[in-house]
């Protein structure tokens, strides 16, 4: 990959067309340059689903190369499991790093704090301003006042439910509080014999419980660790109650696969899930050819009375050490344009991040129509560079709590102690 770039650079040098390849004069801002004059090659790391989503991204890249024939894009699909370590090793050494990368929104603070990704304010990447972007996804790109990414797709968690099973159990509407959620689940089990829900024991799926009580892993303003606050204890107690009373038996190692399979086969009536799963749901026998059977609702509310779930999704980021920043900015802009987002949405049913991309064409897709209103309940996650490290102790304690090895309070206390080691300057308490 790097060889490709250096050859391109060499070709540029030979051609002596300073306007075509010199980013020297403009530095990294790339403001004054005409997009048509940018040339060279760039590498793009994609994390989208290689079989269902990647084709549309590849198509867009072909469009980009057609529009800007002087730029050559190397598309690389990188397995999600290792991309974080891989990118960080490459970014630090400058060897093998991409120019543009699709990054999970949760990783932006980490990459930004380490200066691996470039601030994009005032560059071609954000040309046209950010007014069109919806607030939630746009917030995910901010770190300490600067913008480090351009939102590409967004998502959150909500309730997905099997309308037929609900009807069979005599339930009119989706539950709006966790208590209702548990009751609904029990009723379904009693009336239909089908499991009410399947709790995903992953810590990401714990966030709606925490947010529902108005708390989070930590509070960046007061520098407090809040994971063992009374609110958090209440939230996790509720989660434990769902696990004990309302959920199908959880297979911890295969939780995601199993809950997804059970739901789409009609063996489980409702899930807390995200829009990315909807395409898969519709391929299962409970929903195949019967798309209307899939119901959508916001996550249940906690005692704050407000349903809230984390903002997920992906942003496009530019590697700080890119040898071809101008092309990288331009590519980022192109891939996140309203037109590109509409194409992506139409093909993959992932949610766009621009208001203007929700065209009638896009919203008529049942998958997008269902989740679009739920995006209102999405709230930003705590923007800490260490958030990735926090999830490891959290999930370990959460698993212990669910399995009944420790009490909610002592499990969260232990997690808080681990957080304290990872967050210098933070104290425990709310």
């Amino acid at each position: 990959m790097r060889r490709g770039i250096s050859i391109a650079a060499a070709v540029c040098a030979l051609a002596l067309t300073a306007t075509a390849c010199g980013s020297d004069d403009e530095g990294s801002t790339g403001k004054a340059k005409d997009a048509k004059d940018i040339s060279g090659s760039l590498t793009y790391w994609d994390t989208s689903d290689a079989t269902t989503e990647a084709p549309v991204y590849k198509k867009l890249i072909a469009d980009f190369e057609q529009k800007y024939p002087k730029i050559d894009v190397n598309y690389e699909n990188v397995e999600f499991a290792s991309i974080e370590q891989k990118f960080k090793s490459a970014a630090k050494t400058g060897k093998g790093a991409p120019d543009v990368m699709r990054a999970d929104v949760g990783l932006i603070p980490e990459y930004a704090s380490l200066h691996y990704i470039a601030p994009l304010d005032g560059t071609l990447a954000l040309k046209g301003g950010t007014d069109d972007f919806t607030e939630g996804p746009l917030n995910t790109t901010k770190y300490q006042g600067k913008t480090y990414g351009v939102p590409s797709v967004t998502d959150t968690l909500g309730i997905l439910y099997n309308k037929k099973l609900f009807k069979k159990a005599g339930i009119e509407k989706a539950p709006t509080t966790w208590d209702e959620f548990i009751e609904t689940s029990k009723t379904i089990k009693k009336k239909t014999g089908v499991e009410g829900t399947y709790l995903n024991p992953d810590s990401y799926f714990l966030l709606p419980f925490l947010y529902g009580e108005g708390t989070d892993l930590a509070d960046t303003k007061t520098k407090k660790i809040t994971i063992n606050s009374p609110e958090a204890v209440k939230a996790v107690t509720t989660a434990k109650k769902v696990y004990d009373q309302a959920s199908a038996k959880v297979d911890f190692a295969n939780a995601y696969d199993n809950m997804q399979t059970s739901f789409k086969n009609g063996e489980v009536a409702m899930l807390i899930q995200g829009p990315w799963s909807v395409t898969d749901d519709l391929s299962g026998k409970a929903f195949k050819g019967d798309e209307d059977n899939l119901g959508f609702a916001p996550v249940p509310a906690g005692s704050t009375g407000k349903p809230q779930a984390p903002t997920g999704g992906h942003d496009l980021t530019v590697y700080q050490g890119s040898k071809n920043l101008d092309a990288a900015y331009l590519f980022t802009q192109f891939m996140t344009s309203s037109k590109s987002q509409q194409k992506i949405a139409a093909e993959t049913a992932t949610l766009p991040t621009r208001e203007s991309a929700y065209t009638p064409e896009v919203t008529k897709d049942a998958r997008i129509k269902g989740f679009h209103p739920i995006m209102k309940t999405a709230r930003p996650r705590v923007a800490l560079p260490q958030v990735g490290s926090l999830f490891t102790p959290l999930v370990q304690q959460y698993t212990k709590i669910l399995q009944g090895d420790v009490s909610v309070k002592s499990g969260l206390d232990a997690a808080a102690e681990d957080f304290k080691k990872l967050l210098p300057g933070y104290t425990i308490g709310s």
Binding site: V78, K95, G96, N265, S277
Partner: protein, 302 residues
Amino acid sequence: MTSATTHSPATTGALAKTPAPRPKKVRGREERSTLASVALHGTLIVASLVAAFPVAWIVFISLGPKTAWQSPGEVLGNLSLDNYVKVLTETDFPHWFGASVIVAGGTTVLGVFLAATAGYAVSRMRFPGHRQLMWSFLVTQMFPMAVLIVPLYELLARFDLIDNYLGLILTYATTAVPFCAWMMKGYFDTIPHEIDEAGRVDGLTPFGTFWRLIVPLAKPGLAVTAFYSFLTAWGEVAYASQFMGADHYTLAVGIRTFATESRADWAMMTAASVIILVPATLVFLLVQRNLVSGLTAGGTKS
């Protein structure tokens, strides 16, 4: 903590019992009673089933529809090669395969070369440092690479060996060679020194003796070394996924793109796994006759 080692009787009871009848089995040349025969074959059949079942299972699942992993009952009614066709035609699989062949082939050649030369030198020549060398081979095996991957990455980056076949081949060779050299040393020890003498009398240099006389005699040992090096490279994921870019993905890395954060394409993954298994199994069948003699000579003389 000891309770952790207690196996559920359902899973390994049968396995754990196999060593029990061992005292009788040493005799070898005697007649067996029918009962003993049944017990012998029975045990071996059960053990073979346990050994082969997981492999057979993914082969089975790969022949079914997309949902076969969750409902294996549907496989028999819907046998097809669709998953294989998809893997071979709709993905970069052929490309990954090529990269794996290059990397595994390179590792094999380099591994055999390094292990044979070092093994021979240590076996034949009492040069200063040969003891330390053997010991340091062992030490390299103790190296927890997973934890020290960052220094390694920076080292390769410095030599521009990231996203480069040579970098990966060297890394794998480092993993495989110490054990192989140990094994080869043991194997060379079993080859009579008179052969070296004969070579010297005929006026061959030490290298000539090694190359013309010893290497041909050491084929079983070399075969095992080749097998071991090949396998080290063929199925490795961690280094390959960290070091290589998409143009140079090996199979093990490539098929992991079938699994995303939210969903694994088990149908594709099983089919791809089976295709990955084929070359490994072929290499295995080629060398398996030599495996016992080659490995042991190395083992007996440590």
